[in-house]
Amino acid sequence: MLRLSHLLGTENLTAEQISFILDQAKPFQEFQRHPLKKLATLRGKTVAVAFFETSTRTRISFTTAAARLGADTMALQAESSSLKKGESLIDTVRTLEAMRPDGIVIRHSSSGAPEFVAQRLEIPVLNAGDGTHEHPTQALLDALTIRDRKGGLEGLNVTILGDILHSRVARSNIHLLGKFGVNITLCGPAMWVPRELEKLAPRIRTTHSLEDGVSGADVVMVLRVQTERIHEPAIPPDEYIAQYQLTPARIQLARPDALVLHPGPIVRGLEIDSAVADGPQSCVLEQVTNGLAVRMALLYHLIGGAPADAPHPAKDRSNASD
């Protein structure tokens, strides 16, 4: 059993819980190949999908995951909502809660917003990305992608490349991979890869040289430059491209069978060259498919059971298929 009330981040998940979630994503990966992709498992349940920040993949992924499980969704999208009229986060969330959803998926530009909401609501809260803090489902789907391709996580050399400082994807991945004996390399411009980040996991190093960072990597995770989160002067794009763009020549420095991951959206020609993004080592589309499976597994386990102290249904339990 998962025994998790909320999914706020990977930092506080145990390796067992993470492995459990990845294992449970498997049947949902298979499910995506069914001709009829509609279960009744969460029929009658409602999932509030509250995105206070833009998103393509995560929002559609969560919404589709809920729908395929048979649940209904309540969709909040910040641009077209009363947040523009000045309504506060907690009022928005309480409004949604008054319509009795069974769970809420939330993305917000403030780090800590999902935890704030989780402390005030009775229903499970799933973090779809909060500020620069965590994006746990991204790290889980990245781990699933790597695990499927490489057979496991232990002992792999994973390089995270780019704007690490502002990246919640990087943080969630660092926390997760750090629990599985992964050798983590953080690589990027000095202003975006401070040495302090080395405190986040046991086997981790920082480097500002792309050649050094990518050499010998089993996995290179490329990050987007988080221009919407950067308040200090940015590095000029030409300079970034010259020093840190992942090109076909540069990916050769990694192991020959190295994987290239990117959480999306890709800015072609900036952090990554199109040839690499579309090349044989790229797992970008696989990541998206795996994201759906991971989110279905999470919604299935977090939403819809009876309270832990509810009496068990009577005789169905004996001779139920186990």
């Binding site: 298979e30 499910f31 069914h34 299935y300 819809g304 059971g305 509810a310 249904p313 001779n319 298929s321």
Partner: protein, 182 residues
Amino acid sequence: MPVVEKRQLLSAEEIGRTLSRLAHEIVENSSGAKDLALIGVRRRGVPLAERLAQQIRGFASVDVPVGTLDITLYRDDLSQVGSHPVVQSTQIDFAVDNRDLVIVDDVLYTGRTIRAAMNGLFDLGRPRRIQLCVLIDRGHRELPVEATFIGRKVQTSDTEIVEVRLREIDAEERVMLVDRVP
């Protein structure tokens, strides 16, 4: 939950003979195993389905495909259990459309598992026919579900449990009737 064994229903040998008879009945009923496929319901329906296929290969020289079906996502009681049970894989590597399917499970009881299994199969396509093969039919149906191929019919009370042990899963091989200790 503490239980006490009341009596043995099938010995290892009897399980073997029963499966052999069921395998013959299935083939007889299917006009030569054309389009036949077996679907084992997790967990114990799976080794039973595999053994039936092996038997059929032996005496009829036909390779009947075997799929495994996990019904967890199709259960009707999920909002009543404390936390959602672990989901296992469903693995059916052949098309279900127009197939003559036989669902295989160890015990038929309320019928809810089989209702769930049928829902699972309909998500995969449109079989021509679905029949049910069980090792034990213990009565107490709560839905209109019936088995065509039955190993043994057993009268049971509400508190009793039919325990099936198969060597692939349990390291022993027998079927017992046990009762809950009050």
